[in-house]
């Protein structure tokens, strides 16, 4: 991954400026889509930290998303204020990530993928079956932002602010000494530990951070949809995150945003155009995996020097 440079900062500034101007267009549906994209970008960004930077294959990232969403939705329906409910989500998801990380941090490869999948399935079945608390398959409804954020524009601006800060934090974390230690553990765990890096401890910290940000994304999602249902933490959502990560590029700075924007827009457009949008998504997945394993961001990174030379 290239270090954040002045060019990246300018690009980010331009994106944010455009994002701030979006409500002026007056298109209600564009705002709904933009909120979805921002939340998906944060979700993908948190996965990129552990999976791209840390090399921890996670096939159950939706678990943290869902735990955050359920935590904030439960808090909100029990009368907690909006900001308190929102703050509870990353805390709950971090605790879950730490508890689960203690089990899986030693594993790698296929066993890690299976175990994360199993963990997500456990969380999913608890959400589905604990009717008394989670509302079972109907989930929790009536979770809306407070009056001062009630309008679509207001909530969009709030999500934009939170996601910008969070993605910025994730980008900075990836280039702190901690981030480099994570990469060391990813590329050669043996060599990293020989040079004094406690690889397991770094991985645990990365899991905790990523879990927290995923939980935050979940809470924003619950408030944007007015509720939460168990399918928000089912297998397909974990795969969505992976696809968005691969689509954007695992090691591209703007990867999460690019991947989330492309994927969310694509599924939305396909979903409206054809009944068989799932198959189209499947074809896109196969294309990415076989033709562009480094995603849009990776393709751009390859193209850029070529343009400069000519």
């Amino acid at each position: 991954m290239t270090r954040p440079s002045r060019g990246h900062a300018i690009a980010a500034g331009v994106v944010i400026a455009f994002a701030l101007l979006l409500p002026l267009a007056g298109d209600e549906y564009a705002l709904v889509l933009a909120i979805d994209i921002l939340i998906a970008a944060l979700f993908t960004g948190s996965l990129t930290l552990i999976s791209g930077t840390g090399g921890i294959t996670s096939f159950g990232h939706a678990a943290y998303f869902g735990i955050g969403a359920y935590a904030s939705a439960l808090a909100a329906t029990h009368g907690y204020p909006f900001l308190g409910s929102l703050a509870l989500a990353p805390i709950a998801a971090t605790v879950a990530a730490l508890a689960f990380g203690a089990l899986c941090v030693r594993l790698s490869g296929i066993y890690l993928a299976m175990l994360t999948l199993a963990f997500a399935q456990i969380v999913w079945s608890i959400a589905l079956q604990w009717d008394a608390v989670t509302g079972g398959s109907n989930g929790i409804i009536g979770v809306w932002p407070p009056d001062w954020l009630a309008g679509r524009t207001g909530y969009y601006t709030a999500v934009l602010g939170v996601v910008t800060l969070a993605l910025g934090a994730l980008a900075i974390i990836a280039f702190t000494p901690f981030g480099y230690a994570l990469r060391g553990g990813r590329d050669s765990a043996l060599r990293a530990s020989a040079s004094g890096i406690d690889v397991k401890a770094r991985r645990m910290q990365a899991l905790a951070i990523a879990g927290g940000f995923a939980g935050l994304a979940g809470a924003l999602y619950a408030f944007s949809k007015g509720g939460i249902a168990p399918d928000a933490l089912a297998i397909p959502r974990s795969v969505d995150a992976l696809v968005m990560m691969l689509l954007g590029g695992q090691n591209a700075l703007f990867g999460p945003l690019l991947g989330a924007a492309a994927f969310t827009w694509l599924t939305d457009a396909l979903g409206r155009a054809t009944e068989y949008w799932r198959a189209c998504v499947g074809v896109v997945i196969l294309l990415i995996v076989s033709a562009f394993p480094y995603g849009i961001g990776g393709a751009l990174a390859v193209l850029r020097p070529r343009f400069r030379r000519t």
Partner: protein, 320 residues
């Protein structure tokens, strides 16, 4: 719970363990040789059920004709085998060197495609298969109905285990499979055509999945959610049995199948202050529609399992 109802639940669990074993055996066989965990295995299972439904209908399996169902099961296995080989050649051949993440994601792409193909061909309604001629009734033990078909399934799993063991231990193909599981590179160096071997193993595993789908059809209707529902169980079984071990998968399938049935029979389980209503996790993404069915574990339901039908899946919940 009386002893007889316990026995009935046990039989129920063993019968579902039987098809679980067929699926997991294919999954574990494929993993042993190719080191790929195949998400699309559940899709092959689902496709097997749908193909058996259609072929069975064409062959008159619904009019109690004697062999229609078994031909349909064979056809399902064959179709699944061909599709498995196509998936291997078309998608996975390029991915053997790729990280697990890409492999799993790619096979999930196949899951999505197969699901929409099934939606286009068979529609969103559930399809309940024919009763198997000669095994349509139930044996009554102390007032509890034990479906004959469940007893038949009980016999099929050990037969398949024996057949697979003979295949792996006694034939040249099995020798090559074992060698490739031990060391792929060396096997290639000895002049074995790995490319063909992988395709053959994939087709064999897929055929087992398709067969399992066909054999499940008289017990449960074919539906669009069964691919992901079964793959989660099958993953648990293969990991529990040890990735790559067929006898391990057999034991693990029995453990999982029976545990699940007994938990469902036990109904509510109290953990501390909380009471969980244990339901089968079989219901996966569209579980809400299983609620009123006794297959889901509600003790209140008095209908026999094979008579239970799900409500049509609502379109809104179908969008993941």
């Amino acid at each position: 719970m009386s002893l007889a109802s316990l026995a009935a639940q046990l039989l129920n669990g063993l019968a579902s363990a039987s098809s679980l074993f067929l699926i997991s055996a294919g999954l574990t066989l494929i993993f042993g040789v190719t080191r790929i965990v195949n998400f699309a295995h559940g899709s092959l299972y689902m496709l097997g059920a749908y193909v058996a439904y259609s072929v069975g209908g064409a062959l008159g399996a619904y009019d109690d004709s004697a062999l229609g169902f078994w031909w349909a099961a064979l056809a399902a296995a064959a179709v699944a085998a061909v599709l498995g080989a196509l998936i291997e050649v078309g998608v996975l051949k390029r991915l053997y060197a790729a990280p697990e993440l890409l492999q799993l994601t790619a096979t999930f792409g196949v899951v999505l495609i197969v699901r929409d193909v099934a939606l286009a061909v068979w529609g969103p309604e559930d399809r309940l298969g024919p009763r198997v001629p000669g095994f349509a009734d139930a044996v009554y033990v102390a007032g509890h109905a034990l479906p004959e078909y469940d007893l038949l399934l009980l016999a099929i799993a050990p037969l398949v285990l024996i057949a697979l063991t003979l295949l792996v231990r006694r034939t040249r193909f099995g020798l090559v499979v074992r060698a490739a599981s031990e060391n792929r590179v060396l096997t290639g160096a000895l002049g074995i055509d790995q490319s063909r071997l992988f395709t053959a193993v994939f087709a064999l595993g897929a055929a087992l999945a398709g067969l399992a789908g066909a054999l499940t059809l008289p017990r449960e209707p074919a539906n669009l959610g069964m691919d992901l529902a079964v793959i989660a169980d099958a993953f648990v079984v293969t990991v529990l049995g040890g990735l790559g071990s067929i006898p391990g998968a057999f034991v693990a399938a029995i453990v999982i199948g029976v545990t699940k049935a007994l938990c469902i029979a036990a109904g509510n389980v109290s953990l501390g202050a909380f009471t969980f209503a244990l339901r089968s996790s079989r219901s996966s993404s569209n579980s809400s529609s299983w609620r009123s069915c006794c297959w889901c574990g509600r003790r209140a339901c008095s209908a026999r399992r094979r008579r239970c039908r799900r409500r049509p899946q609502s379109r809104s919940s179908a969008r993941w």
